[in-house]
Subunit: 140 residues, 2 copies
Amino acid sequence: MKKITIGEASRKSGVKVPTIRYYESIGLLAEPNRSEGNQRSYEPADLRRLAFIRHARELGFEVEAIRALLTLQDDPHQSCASADAIAKTRLIEVEQRIRSLMALKAELELMVEGCGHGRVDQCRVIEVLADHGQCSHSHH
Amino acid sequence: MKKITIGEASRKSGVKVPTIRYYESIGLLAEPNRSEGNQRSYEPADLRRLAFIRHARELGFEVEAIRALLTLQDDPHQSCASADAIAKTRLIEVEQRIRSLMALKAELELMVEGCGHGRVDQCRVIEVLADHGQCSHSHH
DNA sequence: CCTACATCCTCTAGCGACTAGAGGTGCAAG
DNA sequence: CTTGCACCTCTAGTCGCTAGAGGATGTAGG
């Protein structure tokens, strides 16, 4: 049993040192054992948990969603309906976000194309932003 | 000259009342005249400015970018190259964001499809999150 | 054994862009 | 004149970290 320092845990999991301490402080990660000199000492299971958290964060899951997923993971005998629901919700969010970003992209392209590199008073970038009526009114 | 209260300005611009006061506090919006009873009194130009800000925020421009755009708008004789640059930068950001969300969507779909509605220990949602190696390693 | 230096510790404060709430004042209608 | 909403200021909270101060520990070389 070699002791894993927080720095090593950070390198191996890809989660920054202060972020690991932060996750501990909000209860996402259990308090690890300490060395004689009060330094955190992690175990392989902690590394897996950190990788899980990191990956879920990269996928845009909120901390509370991750907390729920971790609770499920800790008790693998229950139905995975909740995990499924969390992922589905997130999928819908992502699809919605993609749709609005595509609309946004179209609008930005119009702006940039329309900019004749002249003076501001002829610039479509400013104009489009100023005149709300010119774009799609898709306000959630 | 009818006086426009902050509530009316909010309704007409779609910017919430506390947010209008916030924009004033950070200098995006000039301090308006006050009524005898110390209440803010806006003018049509303020409504246009608020609509501009709101629209730009909806398009995901950061407040500092909006500040720059507003400065340009306030002096329309200069070249619109800066406005163009700001919009182009934003366009690239948006394109990047769309790309990563598409990758994410694919991964989430895999998860949800793979979930056989059984128990957690067979659930792909949990599994995919736990095993980092199963997904694309596109970490900026 | 001593020194240098990296790494660790705790704690507090800051980021962006608001949002919520407390506690008080102004104003228009009935 | 009172009710009740809209307004005022101010502070603190949100989320998910990140940065920095100021000090302790651990390790490698001399």
